[in-house]
Symmetry: C2
Subunit: 335 residues, 2 copies
């Protein structure tokens, strides 16, 4: 039997633990796993592209536990009334090869992406950061807001989305949860006075959501939406005057903002900052960018947190996905 | 909701349809899909190796439907009372990226491997083939026997396994099912008078299960067990005097018997034989080898057969693995 966490159960778990507490658990697990970065078997995710989007498999292992996520990214799905991103994940035991955990990951991906963003910002944003601009208030936005509140105490948000309905939705979801939300008329207005800028838009193209004239000294940019070949959000000149931090360069070169740069452009692997071997922010005026594309170890960490929290309780079910005959050489005997 | 076929339900389905009928369905689907080989997005499987075995992801798509299998191969698992191979598979819609089918594939892999072996033998073995030698009577053996009976009418089996208990198990499982089974004292005896030789052993090393002196004119060799880097079953000199047929050369060079050969050694992609553009067997005396390693399209075909047979009936269940909010931009609204 495989331990299985459905959509209903992950929602129940979030209510039970509290979203900020769960995001903090996941952020801590990601930080611990990134600090042991060199123990992991790593590779860029394996994409299957179509005209409308991409389906990806994201495997990794620490040679003790193996994990992978199935995830899609279909920016035009909203035209069909469907989600841009859905997913599920699996953990398996490397010694036997047996999978032991299956979990929804549409919601969990949103939680882990937000946990990673806030974890990185904790290391890179100015200590006195108080205001975050959020450009794009789609599916990921509320999770980001809770993560930055949980890890950095950010409660003041300046939001902008080209779709007013998306801002309505965000304001409605976040009201009476201790946030101050300022709705802005454009990106330029939203980023004014912001200490942190989160960009999370979904267009599958090379966009310029942020231009150089918008970016003041000392800002930390949490660039989430540039996460596929040909899909970027930042004007190249912003990259040229900032210090760039990435998850896994082999993947970020393919999918991140740094697609726009020459391959010898300097950047820092974020695990080295978590580990303490490299400094993150070194001055008040420095502009830092987290060029986030999402990496398999983040899913691995998130799956392990949920697996532990749902083991031997009613937040998980058992499903009979694995044929295990009494005599391992007699599979046919099961029939 | 995702259509889910558990182990219990695949066993029920086999009983309902009959194993030979189901294998025939799968063989027909594989042949149809291989004939449209050039429509598929193909890549070698993605392995994660450990000291004890390998976990693999096997994706493919025809740009309309995407499929992948999770499968492990752990030859030492029997020491722990565990299965060497387990697996499950998924189908997804390329247009939306949504997965729509989840299925056990421990048993289904055994069915599709057997279906593929017999399908290839139908094209390559002599028409008057009547006797099959089976070297290795482990988990895959009964499925192979049924497939060769269903597709080629082979009912006369000469078996050998280094483990007498494995032969006991095979004889017990197959008795009173219309087979003539001769239990042999060694491989050399088993292959005598055989028209077809199936090798399916599990040692993770370069073995010589078959040596050149065992191989007479006109034989078809169905070589299943050489399916991982460093794991082969045939003496190289057998390969040198035979015509070799493979699934997907990029993968077979890594995993198949042809690991032992120079990269310019001639071989034929089996889809070209199914398609009719290349001849299979051209003479009575020719020795043919199917250097089988298993390819993602075979799983894709098998999953599609089971998905169709279990749709809208009680051979499948619905599971809530996919978070699908009413408003696709309001994932957070689900929480």
């Amino acid at each position: 039997m495989i331990q299985y966490v459905s959509v209903d159960n992950i929602i129940r778990l979030i209510h039970d633990r509290g979203i900020e507490s769960l995001i903090t658990d996941i952020a801590n697990a990601i930080e611990d796993d990134f600090i042991r970065w060199e123990e992991f078997d790593k590779q860029p995710r394996i994409p299957a592209h179509s005209d409308r989007g991409v389906i990806e498999l994201m495997p990794t292992s620490d040679f003790d536990t193996y994990g992978f996520k199935y995830v899609n990214g279909h920016p035009l799905n909203h035209e069909l009334g469907k989600q841009t991103v859905t997913g599920f994940g699996v953990l398996a035991d490397m010694e036997s090869g047996y999978p032991f955990f299956l979990c929804e990951m549409t919601i969990l991906t949103a939680l882990r992406t937000a946990a990673m963003s806030a974890l990185v910002a904790k290391h890179l944003a100015r200590d006195d950061s108080a205001i975050m601009a959020m450009i794009g208030t789609g599916c990921q936005a509320e999770f980001q807001a809770y993560a930055f509140k949980a890890l950095l105490g950010i409660k003041h948000l300046r939001i902008y989305d080209t779709d007013p309905a998306a801002m309505d939705k965000f304001e409605k979801n976040m009201e009476s949860h201790g946030f101050t939300i300022e709705r802005c008329t454009d990106t330029f207005e939203a980023v004014k006075r912001a200490d942190i800028i989160t960009t999370c838009t979904a267009d599958k193209k090379q966009a310029k959501i942020l231009t150089e004239n918008m970016i003041g000294q000392g800002v930390h940019i949490n660039a989430i939406g540039g996460d596929a070949p040909g899909k970027t959000e930042l004007e190249k000149s912003i990259l040229m005057k900032s210090d760039i931090f990435v998850e896994y360069p082999d993947q970020t070169w393919i999918e991140g903002e740094i697609q726009q740069l020459d391959k010898d452009h300097p950047m820092t692997e974020i695990w080295r900052v978590f580990d303490g071997q490299t400094e993150g922010r070194t001055s008040k005026g420095q502009i830092t960018i987290f060029d986030s594309v999402g990496f398999a170890i983040e899913d691995f960490s998130a799956l392990r947190v949920i697996q532990t929290l749902t083991e031997d309780n009613d937040f998980s079910e058992d499903i009979n996905l694995l044929a295990l005959p009494d005599n391992p050489k007699n599979l046919f005997g099961m029939i």
